[in-house]
Structure formats: structure tokens, C-alpha cells
């Protein structure tokens, strides 16, 4: 399965299993979503469970909160993460705090899915990675899958979760494990072991990272598309790095990170989002707090530049394997 099919499969299973699950968003119903993630779900589960909405993101999240408080489990789509901002008030002020401010009388068991990241020449309004805007808000969980197997298991866990979950889908990974080498032919998920997805219901639990590559020289903390960029950089430099795919940014699997950094003594943090106040800053602080005496070099960050995502110069912006590789070499010399 590719990642689109895996995500669709998770929703399909949950719609069948729990009649409180509803799925909606812009172009999500009849058409099945601009990335086809909900294709066929309306025909199968009915237009009262899977439907189109007006083009109004605050409304999508606002009604989802109301439904969630009533007892439904809405799994909604924001067409692109770049279009979530009209819904930000509903997410940050409402969904995130409903449980706390009502002392548990009401809560918002919803999932807000959205395609994220660049690499498709989408320009500044189809390429953003706004994860830090969500991890900064108490009360939200934030998930970023990097492959079809995880996407399905994480989405099922997210739909079953009683807290609001932001589910960021790296759109450049929808069809294959993209490693930043845009000049090479793309590889489909059918050629990757993590493209093998069981048909049944299963969980990938929230809050558990995965070690994608064992290594001893340096720990690379990555998520989403950057997992494959890290793999390419490691292959190209021959540096024996340990690659950790965080999968869930919040709750964060600090135990796995700590064990690895204490073993390697070095840590690099990579993400596609802008640098300043990015999630990488949080990771650096946490690693510093728990592993300071084990560190042999300063923690490095490789990220997108602090500019809007440019259309024509996408590949100069994207933190690809060359940039990650040279940072790795620099680190090993330190």
C-alpha cells in the first residue's frame, strides 16, 4: 500500500468498527479528497458519516469539537496544513483546553489530518510544516508518520484517542520514500518493506519512536520526510549514525532518544520546518537537559531556512542529503 491507501484504510476500518466515527472536510465526500485519502469512503459508509464541508476551516474544527463533545469521534481533513490558520483559534483555544477548563466534563476526541511539507513545487501556500505551532500548545498531541505501516497504525491510535490529535501527513511521502534526491526517479512504496501494510486493525502507539538504523557515531533525530533524507546522508557519508524516527512529537519518546544519545555522544536534529522556535529547538533543549555530560560535540540542527517556502528555489530551500551530510561530517570532526 502507499501512504494514501494506508491512511484511507485506517479511516475505513474505524468507520466500520465504530459508528461514532465521522469523516469530513473540503472535497472529502463525493470526490474523496484532493489527495484521494478518502476516496470511496462516502460510497461505502454513507453521506451522513463521510461528507463535504463548506470552505471554512474554523467551521470544520469547530463543528468537530461540538460533535466530539456529544460523543462522536470526528476525523477531519484540512486540505493543506498551510490552510489550518483560520482554524487555529478553534484548535489552540478550544479543542486543546476543553477537557482542562471543564474539569473533564467535556473533551474533544478528534483527529485533524493535514498534508504537510514541501517537495511538490507547491510554493509558500502548499509546502509548510507548522508542527511547532501545535506542539507549543498544551492539550494537543502531534503525530507525523513517515511510512504507510506507521500511518495506518498511528491514525487508528489517534482516532481511538480521547484527546485532540494533529495528524501531519508529509505529502511528499504519499507515494514513496522520498530522500531528497529530486533528480532521481521516485521509488514507490511497493518497493519498501514499510509499504507492506496488514489489512486488519492494528495500533502503532502514540509516544513511541522507532529506531530506523542502529549506529554508534551520532544520533539523528528526524520525522516525516527527513527520515529518508537522513538515511541517504548516512549512506553517502558512511558515518555510522543511529537514525530515530520520532513518529509522535507529543507525547515524545524521550527514553529512546536518551538511550541513543548516551550511547553515541552526539546528536543532530533535522526538520523541514523553519529553524527559529522550531520543534528542533525543543529537542535540543531536552537532549541537553538529559544528556549534557555525555555529549562530545554541540548538538547540530539542519532545517529549512527562516524564509517562506519558495516556488522556484524549492531545492535550495529543502534541507536535503547534501546539507545533512556535510553537517554530519562537520560534527564528527568536532
Amino acid at each position: 500500500m502507499n501512504m494514501i491507501e494506508a491512511i484511507r484504510d485506517a479511516m475505513d476500518i474505524m468507520l466500520a468498527q465504530d459508528n461514532n466515527v465521522v469523516v469530513f472536510g473540503e472535497d472529502v465526500g463525493y470526490f474523496g479528497g484532493v489527495f484521494r485519502c478518502t476516496a470511496g469512503l462516502q460510497a461505502k459508509h454513507g453521506k451522513h458519516r463521510v461528507f463535504d464541508t463548506p470552505i471554512n476551516e474554523s467551521g470544520i474544527v469547530g463543528v468537530a469539537i461540538g460533535m466530539g463533545a456529544y460523543g462522536l469521534r470526528p476525523c477531519v481533513e484540512i486540505q493543506f496544513a498551510d490552510y489550518v490558520y483560520p482554524a487555529y483559534d478553534q484548535i489552540a483555544s478550544e479543542a486543546a483546553r476543553l477537557r482542562h477548563r471543564s474539569n473533564g466534563q467535556f473533551y474533544a476526541p478528534l483527529v485533524i489530518r493535514m498534508p504537510t511539507g514541501g517537495g511538490i513545487f507547491g510554493g509558500q501556500t502548499h509546502s509548510q510544516s507548522p508542527e511547532a505551532l501545535f506542539t507549543h500548545v498544551s492539550g494537543l498531541k502531534t503525530v507525523v508518520p513517515s511510512n504507510p505501516y506507521d500511518a495506518k497504525g498511528l491514525l487508528i491510535s489517534s482516532i481511538e484517542d480521547d484527546d485532540p490529535v494533529i495528524f501531519l501527513e508529509p505529502k511528499r511521502l504519499y507515494n514513496g520514500p522520498f530522500d531528497g534526491h529530486h533528480e532521481r526517479p521516485s521509488i514507490p512504496w511497493s518497493k519498501h518493506p514499510l509499504g507492506e501494510v496488514p489489512e486488519h486493525h492494528y495500533h502503532v502507539p502514540l509516544g513511541e519512536a522507532a529506531v530506523r538504523r542502529q549506529g554508534s557515531a551520532v544520533t539523528i533525530l528526524a520525522y516525516g520526510t527527513m527520515v529518508y533524507v537522513a538515511e541517504a546522508a548516512v549512506a553517502e557519508t558512511g558515518i555510522d549514525a543511529e537514525i530515530i524516527d520520532l513518529r509522535t512529537l507529543l507525547p515524545l519518546d524521550m527514553a529512546t532518544i536518551e538511550t541513543s544519545v548516551k550511547k553515541t555522544g552526539r546528536c543532530m536534529v533535522i526538520h523541514e520546518a523553519t529553524l527559529t522556535s522550531g520543534f528542533g529547538a525543543e529537542l535540543c533543549a531536552l537532549v541537553q537537559e538529559s544528556c549534557f555530560y555525555h555529549l562530545e560535540a554541540p548538538i547540530e540542527r539542519v532545517t529549512g531556512w527562516d524564509t517562506p517556502y519558495p516556488h522556484a528555489l524549492e531545492w535550495e530551500y529543502f534541507p536535503g542529503p547534501a546539507r545533512v551530510g556535510s553537517a554530519l561530517k562537520r560534527m564528527m570532526e568536532a
Binding site: E57, G123, P310
Partner: protein, 411 residues
């Protein structure tokens, strides 16, 4: 009759026709051309509430200009308008081809909607500001903005005045009265109101025109715009282009079946008109009415343009997945270029021969302009905008952290 306490069912709107159906618009209420009255520009919104439900039309089925909204537009201006519409269409066709050839990543056509942007531009003045969506390229063409500059933006080449920063068609041409297109829906509608408020604060007589699709009227910012327009009475035209579709979503999901988009204005006590967007003369006359009203200090007008999105939403879209094949040709308001051409032929100032000659000449002109743009590079070949430029204009002056990042990139 349903009894209280019996199960309630959610209403989910659905379009009348889906793929496989035969579209039939005979139930659509289309008033005869010339049948809607023309009030004076100082009319109070209260007195014209009915005009939000009719359709102002000038061109009748035979192509004659009839009724109170016929301005007897002079032939030279009219022919200019026809040529701008033809040029808009030719440019669109050319750029779609360029996208298919891999010369750019993306393109959006306005096929069938040319009259709306072209005629409104011709009814406004230099110094006015449009806040367009991605489907008003006709504004630039009718402003005679050099076509080559539009094409350079689409190709993201070194001739692109936006340095390849923006997605194709998200133009910005201040000198042609064309505000920078954002891409986020609805955000700029309320900014148009702010621009118009500024004109009033400064005691100027410039006006602003906001543009939005019927789908995007669902966004909160649409309602913010109407509210501010109502409270401060600034000189603004609030255009709603109702082309029936928002990607795969039909206008009923923006609540278009419950009430016309024009009637949204009534809750705010705003003047509102509804007009045939495929009728060049109606668009020109109605736009001029609203512009005059605004310029005389009588305040905003919302205008719903009834039209149809003939082409795909964008080059990434395939409408055969969600609407019937024949829907565009079944659309009862016809094609704006064809209708205006017939009118001018009927007037005796145009002919099939002149039209064919104009078409050929426009095709040559567009081909040459696009070629000149191409010679500077396309998205995937030739030179690109300078990499250094990526870090410019994030701020007026580059802060130290960006300077450092630019050095890291080695440019």
C-alpha cells in the same frame, strides 16, 4: 408531518447532476434580458433588496443590447473588450500547454469567466486597486499589463518580478492596480475593505475591488469584509464570482441553494446586485454603477456574478470525476466571448472575417510574448532567479540570523 422526538436526519446538500447524468438547467430562474430595473447610484440598500435575487442582463438571446442597463457602450471600447477577452483565453490555452510540456508546475484558467474581470477592469480607473483571486488574469490583460511579465511569473524565471517566490498565477503588479495574490482563500476580501477605508481616511476618491469565489464566501473573512464595509461605508466593490464550483464542491455547500450569494449582503444592510457574468455589457454597466456609487461616497456594493467554471479548477484537477461532461455546454448563460461577438456582429461593427483575423493576430501576439518569456528560462530549464533573493524581503532589512543562514547556503 414529522412528529417531535422522532429521529432527525442530517441534511447533506448534493448537486443536481453528477458524472453520468444529463445536465438540465431548465429549472434555473433566468430573467429575460432588460427586465431588471436600474436604480440611481444613491439608492438606499433597503430599496433594492429585490435586485439580489434577479439577474441583471443586457444581451438578449439574439445578441441585442436591451433594457435600462444598456449604456450604449461605444463600438471602439466594445471591440477592445472583446479582444481582451479573446486574449485572456488564448493566453490561458498557451500556458496550459506550457504546463503540460513541463515548463511550469501549475496553471489556472478562467475559461468562461473572461467577461467578469475584463469588463470590470474597463469600468474602473487607474489608481483603483483590485484584490483578485487566482482567476482574474483578465484584469491584467484589460489593464494592458505586458503579457511577457505574466508569463515570466508563471515560468518562475529571472524575468519574474516576484523572483520565483510565488506559485504560478499568484501575480502581483502594483502599478496595474493588482494586489499581491496570497493563495489563502478569502483573506484578501477584507483587505480590500481596508484599502477602501484608507482611501476614505485620506480623503481620496480611489476605490477598491475585492474578489472572491462563491466557495470561498464560506470563509470567515468574507463575513468580516461585509461587516466592516457595512460599518464604515468605504468605497469598495465586493465581487462574488459564482462559477458554480469550488474544486469538486458545488455552490450548495456554500449555502447557495438556501439564498443567493448576493443576498448575503442584506444581513449587513449593504447594497447588493446580481448579474449575468457571461454578459460583457451587463458586467461593464453594473461595475460602472457600483464604481460610481463608491466614488460619490454612497458606499459599498456587493455584486454576485452568475457564471460557470468551464475548465478544470487547475492543472492538478480532473472535473470528470465529479461533474457531468456536458455541463459547461448545457450552461444556459452561454459563452461570454461568443455572445459578445454576436452582439458586435449584430451592431454591424464586427464580422466573422474580422473575428478570425483578430484571433490570428492575438495568437501571434501571445505566442511571441510567451516565447520571449521562455527565452529567459522556464521552471525546469535555463536560468533561475538568484538564490540570494530567497533571503531578501523577508524583512525590510535582513536580520543577523538570516544573514548567517544565507552564508551557510554559500550565496
Amino acid at each position: 408531518m414529522a412528529k417531535p422526538n422522532s429521529p432527525i436526519r442530517l441534511h447533506v446538500p448534493e448537486p443536481a447532476f453528477r458524472p453520468g447524468d444529463t445536465p438540465d438547467f431548465s429549472s434555473l430562474d433566468i430573467p429575460a434580458a432588460g427586465s431588471v430595473r436600474r436604480p440611481t447610484v444613491d439608492v438606499s440598500p433597503e430599496e433594492i433588496r429585490d435586485l439580489a435575487y434577479g439577474i441583471i442582463r443586457v444581451l438578449d438571446d439574439a445578441g441585442a443590447a436591451v433594457g435600462p442597463w444598456d449604456e450604449a457602450l461605444d463600438s471602439a471600447t466594445a471591440i477592445r473588450g472583446l479582444r481582451y477577452m479573446m486574449k485572456t483565453r488564448v493566453y490561458d490555452q498557451r500556458m496550459v500547454m506550457a504546463q503540460r510540456q513541463g515548463k511550469t508546475s501549475f496553471y489556472m484558467q478562467c475559461t468562461g469567466e473572461e467577461a467578469v474581470a475584463v469588463a470590470q477592469q474597463m469600468a474602473l480607473q487607474l489608481g483603483d486597486m483590485h484584490f483578485p483571486t487566482y482567476r482574474q488574469q483578465g484584469l491584467l490583460i484589460a489593464a494592458e499589463h505586458p503579457l511577457e511579465e505574466l508569463a515570466c511569473q508563471v515560468f518562475s524565471n529571472p524575468g519574474d518580478v516576484l523572483q520565483g517566490r510565488q506559485l504560478p498565477v499568484m501575480y502581483s503588479f502594483r502599478d496595474s492596480g493588482f494586489f499581491s495574490i496570497s493563495g489563502n482563500l478569502g483573506t484578501q476580501y477584507v483587505q480590500a475593505v481596508g484599502w477602501a477605508m484608507a482611501s476614505a481616511i485620506k480623503g481620496d476618491s480611489k476605490i477598491a475591488a475585492g474578489w472572491i469565489g462563491e466557495g470561498a464566501t464560506a470563509e470567515n473573512d468574507f463575513h468580516s469584509a461585509l461587516l466592516y464595509a457595512s460599518v464604515y461605508n468605504p468605497p469598495v466593490i465586493l465581487n462574488v464570482v459564482n462559477n458554480q464550483w469550488a474544486i469538486s464542491t458545488f455552490q450548495g455547500l456554500a449555502a447557495g441553494d438556501s439564498a443567493t450569494f448576493a443576498s448575503r449582503a442584506h444581513g449587513y444592510g449593504l447594497a447588493s446586485l446580481r448579474a449575468d457574468g457571461n454578459d460583457f455589457l451587463a458586467v461593464h454597466a453594473v461595475s460602472r454603477w457600483a464604481a460610481e456609487r463608491a466614488r460619490c461616497g454612497f458606499g459599498p456594493t456587493l455584486i454576485e456574478w452568475v457564471t460557470y467554471r468551464v475548465a478544470a479548477h487547475s492543472t492538478s484537477d480532473d472535473p470528470s470525476q465529479y461533474r457531468p461532461q456536458g455541463e459547461a455546454s448545457a450552461w444556459p448563460l452561454g459563452d461570454p466571448v461568443e455572445r459578445f461577438k454576436q452582439h458586435l456582429i449584430g451592431r454591424g461593427v464586427w464580422s466573422e472575417e474580422l473575428h478570425a483575423k483578430a484571433q490570428e493576430q492575438i495568437e501571434t501576439e501571445v505566442r511571441q510574448a510567451v516565447r520571449r518569456a521562455e527565452s529567459l528560462g522556464t521552471l525546469n530549464s535555463g536560468s533561475k532567479p538568484s538564490i540570494k533573493e530567497m533571503f531578501e524581503d523577508v524583512y525590510k532589512e535582513m536580520p543577523p540570523h538570516l544573514r548567517k543562514q544565507r552564508q551557510q547556503l554559500g550565496v
